[in-house]
Symmetry: C2
């Protein structure tokens, strides 16, 4: 039911063309997963999400556990039925949110105890609880519960969290029983290449059907992130999908594809969309700027998402009038832009010209008068 | 290009089945027009609006004049292209907003001068200016600029505003030059039947291709409104469409259809949608109520709008989590509910059973435990 297929590696770099077969459909790789934090991609119906070319969504275990609770989701038919999305869903484990959102978090060998960021109630998530929540949600791909820490941290602290994450990964694997769901391991190790390689080797022993690179994009400079990706992917199994968690900007996606990563998720396209930032091949546009007032051009020519023909002037008007539709349309545009980028990347890899495509896009983003 | 066709009058009441032919398509009557105040039906893409079965939208002259200004809309191709809606659009004249929204309004024979509710700037709208704005917007149906007053008012004051509205209607007719647009007259006369009849007779002389009943739903009890509609429609031309402005609740629509009204507009479905009130055949649901938490039923069975299968539990969750999608989905549901009601009304009129349909729906709305 679940199978990764490596179709082609670009002759000039590490970029991979692949396919992830799942019971709910085939996912062409590399791909971007829009984030549906609380059971909705913010500001978008599932029809709108589908129209962007998205093949798989991400749901957040931490958020759904807090509200409405996995028992409600399960009783209402599981996350797919709950939110009306019948393509694949990947759920994260809550590890990142326990680190980034929860309050007064205490981590010990058993798990993490913290206060809800919504109502301050005391909550414990252990590897076994995270697995159970994700099974109740009924996602197609679950993530192991990991220990995420801030960067930079001392090597000792990084290694300690990494070792714990490896032990927790094994507990997650052992607790996992849902046959319709697979579980991905998560590589930790901070910005230390030797730790990343060690973690990759340890987790290979646990034989997960897919592997993620976690604990990045937590404030470190992008070149540091690229360095770690480049050091890590050669030690990840070639016959398993590779997922870079929580990343990122369009340039980060291409930098990671170049180094052999297949899957991405990030709130940036929707968060920026609500904040009037629209991605284009010439850099981003600040849609509230007066320069757009009478501009008849679309945000980006050549897009296939619905309403892509609407003018910059109209979008600017919607933001000035504080209309909900403003954030809805630019969120949809931005996710559509990310998916178009992934489609173009797949076409480029198939033709062994990913490096050319990479250079072309980077030049456009760097040279664009990110106006306005 | 523009033609009203009376297809059938129910044998047992005044309900009319009709068709309005316009250059941008045929509108089956009776119909409901969603309100796109600032160039968007709040919280909905035009795809979503179209999926509700809506055949024509309303745009607000007052709001669009203030922001972004009709010159921007015109430069960007007119209101249809601006907002991406190629079916018919009706624009109101601004008369109602000058009365209800503008500040420090002074009306004299020339027109109305007031302060913008957005930035306090001083603005004048005369009949000629209203006509020009609507021509720049490029709507298919324009409304004459009228003098709306609060109710109750003295007969003298009502007659004075009515007489002015008639004089302004003639000035609007004389100022109108856009061939692709028709202009509807607006009947005033407050809650005084004899004034309403007088106004209808006067405006018939001006030979508008359609007539609206204005100045109602401004706070008077619904039975008063029904009484005025009942007294007025017999004096409106049978061969022209009849539009009841700014009304209203589902029961108001059926009460007016019963008395021979063909067209409606109201912000209620979208405003209530954003405020978690969903219309059903059993009354409305307050979607934030805890009773819905684990309810797998759709808001209303038998709906054809997109995502109509989503559970009450999911919708409630979205409201509790303050997700944009909550208001988006319930706005779409509510407009879809209004359009379903109009479709059912048309089917009932064609079969001479509108009275039965009317009683059935009224009983449902009255008897429903508007739960929850």
């Amino acid at each position: 039911m679940f199978r990764y297929e490596l179709l082609h590696v670009d002759q000039n770099c590490g970029a991979r063309l692949g396919r992830l077969h799942t019971p709910r459909g085939v996912i062409e790789l590399p791909t971007f997963m829009p984030v549906g934090t609380c059971g909705t991609v913010k500001g978008m119906t599932t029809d709108m999400v589908e129209a962007t070319g998205s093949q798989i969504l991400l749901g957040n275990t931490y958020h759904l556990h807090l509200r409405p609770g996995e028992s409600v989701v399960k009783e209402l038919g599981g996350l797919h039925k709950f939110m009306g999305w019948d393509k694949p869903i990947l759920t994260d484990s809550g590890g990142f949110q326990v680190f980034s959102l929860a309050q007064r978090t205490v981590v010990d060998e058993q798990g993490a105890t913290f206060r809800s960021h919504i109502d301050g109630s005391k909550i414990t998530i252990t590897p076994e609880i995270s697995v159970q929540i994700q099974q109740d949600l009924g996602s197609d791909i679950a993530m192991v519960f990991d220990h995420v820490i801030e960067l930079p941290s001392s090597r000792e602290k990084v290694k300690d969290a990494m070792d714990r994450s490896i032990r927790w990964a094994e507990r997650c694997r052992d607790a996992h029983t849902l046959e319709s769901q697979v579980q991905f391991g998560i590589l930790q190790g901070g910005l230390d290449e030797s730790l990343r390689i060690e973690c990759a080797k340890e987790l290979r022993q646990l034989d997960f059907p897919g592997y993620a690179i976690g604990g990045l994009s937590v404030g470190e400079p992008p070149p540091e992130m690229y360095r770690i990706i480049e050091a890590t992917t050669p030690h990840m199994p070639e016959d398993r999908p590779r997922y870079l968690m929580g990343v990122g900007r369009p340039e980060d996606l291409l930098q990671a594809v170049l180094r052999g990563v297949d899957m991405f998720d990030c709130v940036m396209p929707t968060r920026n969309g609500r904040n009037a930032m629209a991605f284009t091949d010439d850099g981003f546009l600040k849609m509230k700027n007066a320069i757009h007032e009478r501009d008849p051009r679309p945000i980006q020519a050549g897009m296939h998402t619905p309403h892509a023909e609407l003018s910059r002037g109209y979008i600017r008007h919607l933001f000035m009038a504080k209309e909900m539709l403003a954030g809805m349309l630019v969120s949809m545009h931005n996710i559509g832009y990310y998916q178009r980028l992934m489609t173009q990347a797949r076409e480029a890899i198939a033709a062994d010209r990913f490096l050319d495509f990479f250079e072309e896009r980077m030049a456009g983003w760097a040279g664009g008068k990110s106006s306005d």
